[in-house]
């Protein structure tokens, strides 16, 4: 599987300049601006990883990968592992930069707040990954983009409708016992979501023929 991870990283290398530029933009915004864009680097890492699916399809890599030992399983597994590693690296870099900006400027943001923002960013990008990858494996990158667009708006619509019927204060009281375990819940939920998403993607890719 290491070979498949190396392949995705090799393909990503062509986008390294964009990621460096975004990091510089983040530093500049952190020093001179007021807007918090600490999500930008992990988010862009996922977008760049999605781009690797386009390269795989365009260059017929998918068919060739299936001729390699454990090609089906390793292809899918490598995509998930590479993306998660990249998200974590991007988050750690952003965390360090945020702490440095906070220390070097007059903003003095508490480290806990930076940590929570980063945790939210990791959860958000993982959510993107778990939703998008099975759809990409099923439909390909181009159709998946449209499907995700429809899905997000659908979820917002359904969510909005549900919220109009639900009394949030009652829900808040019912779930108040979970308050001290937010980090653990997010981590467990993240792992569970990644596992389910991976299984769906693997099953979809196992049926694909090129």
């Amino acid at each position: 599987m290491i070979g498949f991870i190396k392949k995705d990283i090799a393909v990503m290398k062509s986008n390294i300049k964009i990621l460096v530029l975004l990091t510089l933009l983040y530093v500049a915004m952190g020093i001179f601006g007021d807007m918090d864009i600490s999500f930008i680097l992990p988010f862009m890492v996922v977008m760049v990883m999605i781009q690797t699916f386009s390269y795989d399809s365009f260059n017929n890599w998918n068919a060739y990968s299936l001729s390699l030992p454990n090609g089906r399983k390793n292809s899918v597994r490598a995509k998930y592992i590479t993306t998660i590693i990249m998200i974590l690296i991007a988050t750690i870099i952003t965390f360090i930069l945020s702490c440095a900006i906070s220390y070097l400027t007059t903003k003095s943001i508490p480290i806990e707040k930076i940590g929570f923002t980063m945790l939210g960013t990791v959860f958000g990008t993982i959510l993107m990954l778990v939703l998008m990858y099975p759809i990409i494996y099923k439909l390909g990158v181009e159709k998946a983009r449209i499907a995700i667009f429809i899905m997000v708006f659908g979820l917002i619509g359904v969510g909005g409708l549900l919220l109009s019927f639900i009394d949030l204060s009652v829900v808040g009281k019912t779930l108040s016992f979970l308050e001290g375990y937010i980090i653990e819940i997010l981590i467990l939920l993240g792992i569970l979501m990644v596992y389910i998403s991976y299984r769906i993607s693997l099953k979809t890719f196992s049926k694909k023929e090129f």
Partner: protein, 285 residues
């Protein structure tokens, strides 16, 4: 006899095409040329062998093992070149070396780098700067560099100039000097196959029409070139197919000697793979 590859009644249905009961056997230490016109089923067969398509009927054994149940094991020993280019064009030959180290247990970086030198391929140039022939050479170098026992090559010499083709064919010939190693080679360049293939398997409209040794095919079969009047005198059971050209009839016969003796003709041309394919595909019965 031990076989590197055995296909038994392999079938696959598509909307507009069907692979029907494909059976063939490739003995160890041999090269099998796999021929047929475009769309005849060569690539589909190769994809079934490699499990790139999975929902096919029949049985495929590689080194005596089921290619679906023992997939990971058999694929360690297979080198592949597919018809289409398959490496991402923004990576370099050096990247491929790194990638394959993590894919094949027996990956041999030294062997790979030696092939890059032999083929004049720059290791740190992106593949998008390579010509089609250079990419093919890179794919062949990659297929050979993990010490495979079976090479499955779909049009590996397409896009190569005659010098590079001769070089590659020499490499294939030295590959099978080891009696354990074999090659399944699909190619439209039938001249190459006549020189290096021990067996020829011919597929047409998804069906295997013939699978036998190259010597037997080229020595036994023949083409009779004659006028319409002479053609009318040939009994139907004495030829396989015929083709009417602008000036003459080309008649494919299965046994040159028998035909010569029966019809008292002096000249029955030796068949070439090109003649064979053209008459079999375009000819009438």
């Amino acid at each position: 006899m031990e076989y590197s590859l055995e296909l038994k009644n392999v079938g696959k249905k598509y909307e507009n095409f069907e692979l029907k009961n494909v059976s063939m056997k490739l003995p160890k230490g041999m090269i099998m040329g796999f021929i047929g016109e475009n769309g005849a089923g060569k690539t589909t067969t190769i994809k079934a062998i490699l499990n790139i398509i999975t929902s096919y009927e029949g049985e495929i054994k590689i080194f005596g093992l089921d290619n679906r149940k023992e997939e990971a094991k058999v694929k360690e020993d297979i080198g592949v070149v597919l018809d289409d280019m398959f490496f991402p064009e923004i990576i370099t030959p050096n990247d491929i070396n790194d990638i394959m180290k993590g894919v094949f247990q027996n990956w041999d970086s030294k062997m790979y780098n030696d092939y890059l030198k032999e083929f004049d391929l720059l290791p740190n140039k992106q593949l998008k700067t390579f010509s089609k022939g250079m990419r093919k050479k890179l794919e062949i170098a990659t297929a050979l560099s993990h010490h495979p026992k079976l090479l499955i090559l779909d049009e590996p010499t397409s896009g190569l100039d005659p010098v590079a083709r001769a070089e590659v064919i020499e490499i294939f010939q030295s590959f099978i000097e080891n009696d354990e190693c074999s090659i399944l080679l699909s190619s439209h360049i039938t001249k190459d196959l006549e020189h290096i293939a021990d067996y020829i398997t011919f597929i047409n409209h998804g069906e295997i029409i013939l699978s036998e040794t190259t010597n037997e095919l080229l020595e036994k079969y023949g083409v009779v070139k004659c006028t319409e009047e002479q053609f009318q005198k040939i009994e139907k059971k004495d030829f396989i197919k015929y083709r009417k050209t602008k000036y003459e009839y080309e008649v494919l016969v299965e046994d040159k000697k028998k035909f010569k003796a029966k019809y008292k003709v002096d000249v029955v041309d030796k068949v070439t793979l090109d003649d064979f394919m053209v008459i079999m595909i375009k000819g009438e019965e």
